[in-house]
């Protein structure tokens, strides 16, 4: 499963499709996951607060392709924070649409006061629970941990989803999360840390 798809499932309630986080945290987490896909595909690398494009050939996924093209077309913007904000603006729609195309979700519209909002409902209710269960097993060492798993865990922790992934907040489990993030290669670790910074700054500026 692609990184941003996995984060999308984590960040939304499978029954009513509502986000589990504030809108800004969902956007920043999804944008981080979209960039993470490019890092996994070795098209982009992250060093500290900056990213750079290392390969220009398009990745297989259409959304990743578009993201890479956008990042490449604006070489003056190299701050990861800038791209998190920019990609975050449309991240819910673009990742949601990708999940619809993949047949994982279906789009519904719900009316809230004066505006209609797009919501994405998962077709197989067991899928989100299975993904969380897998992350739990990965964390406890029952299944091997891949970089993508640790990145999703890191993004979940950075945006405030630790409780959802862990089910409990026991110190030992929290330690496992920290250990997973620490085990990440530096580009992914810096990406997760930058997402966490961005979420923290949004809290401080009260723009969630």
């Amino acid at each position: 499963m692609l990184l941003a798809d996995d984060f999308f499932l984590l960040a939304h309630d499978e029954r009513d499709a509502r986000p589990r986080l504030s809108p800004r945290a969902v956007e920043l987490g999804l944008a981080g996951a979209m960039l993470g896909e490019l890092v996994l595909e070795r098209r982009v690398t992250v060093e500290g607060a900056l990213l750079s494009v290392v390969r220009w050939d398009p990745p297989a996924d259409a959304l990743a392709h578009t993201t890479l093209a956008t990042v490449t077309s604006e070489p003056e913007h190299r701050e990861v924070r800038t791209w998190l904000s920019y990609l975050g603006r449309t991240a819910v729609e673009s990742v949601g649409q990708r999940l619809v195309r993949a047949g994982v979700m279906r789009q519904t519209q719900s009316r809230r006061l004066l505006k209609t909002v797009n919501r994405y409902l998962v077709n197989d209710l067991n899928l989100p629970a299975a993904r969380v269960l897998r992350l739990r097993r990965v964390l406890t060492g029952a299944e091997p941990m891949y970089v993508a798993d640790a990145t999703v865990i890191g993004l979940a922790a950075a945006t405030g989803l630790t409780r959802h992934v862990l089910w409990d907040g026991a110190p030992a489990s929290v330690k496992q999360v920290h250990a997973a993030v620490r085990s990440l290669p530096p580009p992914f670790r810096d990406l997760v840390a930058t997402v966490e910074e961005a979420v923290g700054d949004a809290v401080l500026a009260q723009r969630l």
């Binding site: 986080l21 840390a193 809290v203």
Partner: protein, 503 residues
């Protein structure tokens, strides 16, 4: 670089610029904390009675001048810092991390005091109003608890108080204040307008420190603009414009209204009238001159909404400080976490609510006066704490730019902060020497040193805490003052120290 590529607008920049905040949005945030009608309607009238001096119009102008001098360096430094908008991070970067931690403890105490003080004035004002209007006898603390519940819930759920609602309320407040001013000046006591309360003689004697501390209490909120430096349209100018414009609006409103009130009541009658009528003074006076009572009713309602908005704003300020300190591990990590669905810093918000509840209950049980003892004492003592922080920050600005100018001119980094320091030092000296005067208690009362000493105690505790952190948790110590930049999940890895080194 060809001409066409430099002209081509960046889609990213344009899209992000649309999401950013302009000067007006940022000013509104500052003015909500300042609550103009609360200042002129409740703070100044209570101060006239408690301090017994009339020279507030001059006091506001003098204090505004000092704060404007301070703001040059403050705004310049906010452009350099990542955790902008928190005094302690400026102090940490300028004077060293131990002083930063000390400053953060002082800030927590000061902002908490200002916040709980508002519960007192809300309870007292609404209780009086219910009695006068509907003949209902409701204890002040019941009403204070109602506001407390509102703030606690709003802080936790972080239901966006619609910024348009706040803007409308703020605009209405300003309109009411201006109408009052016009009415007051049209009906001068004794038939002629005097400028007695603007003359230095109205501010002489031991009360000058008390007046100036009250005035700085009124201006708290002006320091909020740098919070938005990363969200502002143009990082350099928006924050500066919002800070100076916010100060200017407050100065005009406060000085003009306190002067107009003194003109219509008569400087000689002011202190006695304030002692008798308390926060009703301005409203009663206006009602006396206006034939229609509805504008006074509207003003009363706006006073209450203004206090409520201010209480929520200070709650959020305390929460923000606590959250940042939790992220930096100065306070336990739990304070740096957010409530998932709302994104509110849950533990930090709850902690402030507990403080508020304890104080309200303590005052209710002890039967202390909510207006003078809770609102005025706590509010002005909170203001004194902010005064200490501003002074330390001025010093931090000079030390910070003294090491590296970063392209700032001498006026900004040296001259204006030093002038501000002189002014602030004078105010602190006057205030501490005559603190009994500020509280309106006997000159021998122990409170005159106990309340200011609380800041000394927490500052020393902060210093010791910082030194203990340096010895036992060097990783956490290295990121003190960085706020959200002190990566939480990754504390203990190299990421935090990368930030600390590169900034």
């Amino acid at each position: 670089m060809s001409a066409t590529s430099s002209v081509r607008p960046s889609a990213v920049s344009q899209a992000l610029a649309r999401d950013r905040l302009g000067v007006l949005s940022v000013i509104m945030f500052a003015l909500t904390a300042a609550a103009p009608l609360m200042v002129v309607g409740a703070l100044v009238t209570t101060a006239w009675g408690a301090i017994g001096v009339t020279g507030f119009p001059l006091g506001f102008v003098l204090m505004a001048a000092v704060l404007a001098l301070f703001s040059f360096g403050y705004v310049a430094m906010s452009r350099q810092l990542t955790n902008a908008g928190a005094f302690y991070s400026y102090i940490a970067q300028g004077l060293g991390k131990p002083f930063g931690v000390a400053g953060s403890f002082v800030a927590l105490l000061a902002y908490n005091m200002m916040q709980v003080g508002l519960y007192g004035v809300f309870g007292a004002a609404l209780s009086d109003l219910l009695k006068a209007k509907f003949d209902l006898g409701v204890e002040w603390w019941v009403l204070a608890l109602a506001l407390w519940l509102f703030v606690a819930i709003m802080g936790l759920l972080r239901v966006e108080v619609n910024s348009r609602v706040l803007a409308v309320l703020l605009a209405a407040e300003i309109v009411v204040v201006v109408v009052f001013d016009v009415v007051f000046l049209a009906n001068p006591n004794g038939g002629s307008i005097t400028v007695d309360t603007f003359t230095p003689s109205s501010l002489s004697g031991p009360a000058v420190g008390a007046v100036l501390v009250t005035c700085i209490t009124a201006f708290v909120g002006f320091e909020a603009a740098p919070v938005f430096s990363e969200e502002a349209k143009r990082a350099g100018t928006t924050v500066a414009a919002a800070t100076f414009l916010g100060l200017a609006v407050m100065t005009v409103l406060y000085a003009l209204t306190s002067w107009a009130a003194s003109v219509t009541i008569g400087p000689a009658n002011l202190v006695d009238a304030a002692k008798q009528q308390g926060p009703d003074l301005i409203f009663n006076t206006a009602a006396g001159h206006l034939n229609s009572a509805w504008i006074v009713d509207v003003a009363h309602a706006l006073l209450l909404t203004s206090i409520a908005a201010g209480a929520l704003s200070y709650h959020n300020t305390v929460t923000r400080y606590t959250f940042a300190l939790g992220r930096e591990r100065v306070l336990p990590a739990v304070f740096g976490r957010t409530r998932a669905r709302s994104g509110a810093p849950q533990a930090a918000s709850l902690a402030q609510s507990v403080v508020g509840l304890v104080v309200i209950v303590a005052y209710a049980v002890a039967g202390w006066d909510p207006l003078v003892r809770l609102f005025f004492w706590m509010g002005t003592t909170g203001g004194l704490g902010i005064l200490f922080l501003i002074t330390a920050t001025s010093l931090a600005v000079v030390c910070y730019f003294g090491r590296d100018r970063r392209g700032e001119n001498p006026w900004t980094w040296l001259l204006s902060p030093v002038l501000a320091l002189l002014g602030l030092g004078y105010v602190i000296y006057q205030a501490l020497a005559n603190y009994a005067n500020l509280l309106g208690v006997e000159p021998t009362s122990g409170l005159r040193w106990q309340l200011p000493l609380a800041y000394g105690v927490v500052a020393v505790a902060g210093l010791l805490w910082a030194l203990a952190m340096r010895a036992s948790r060097p990783h956490a110590y290295r990121v003190v003052g960085l706020g959200a930049k002190a990566a939480g999940v990754l504390a203990g890895t190299d990421h935090g120290s990368r930030e600390a080194v590169s900034r």
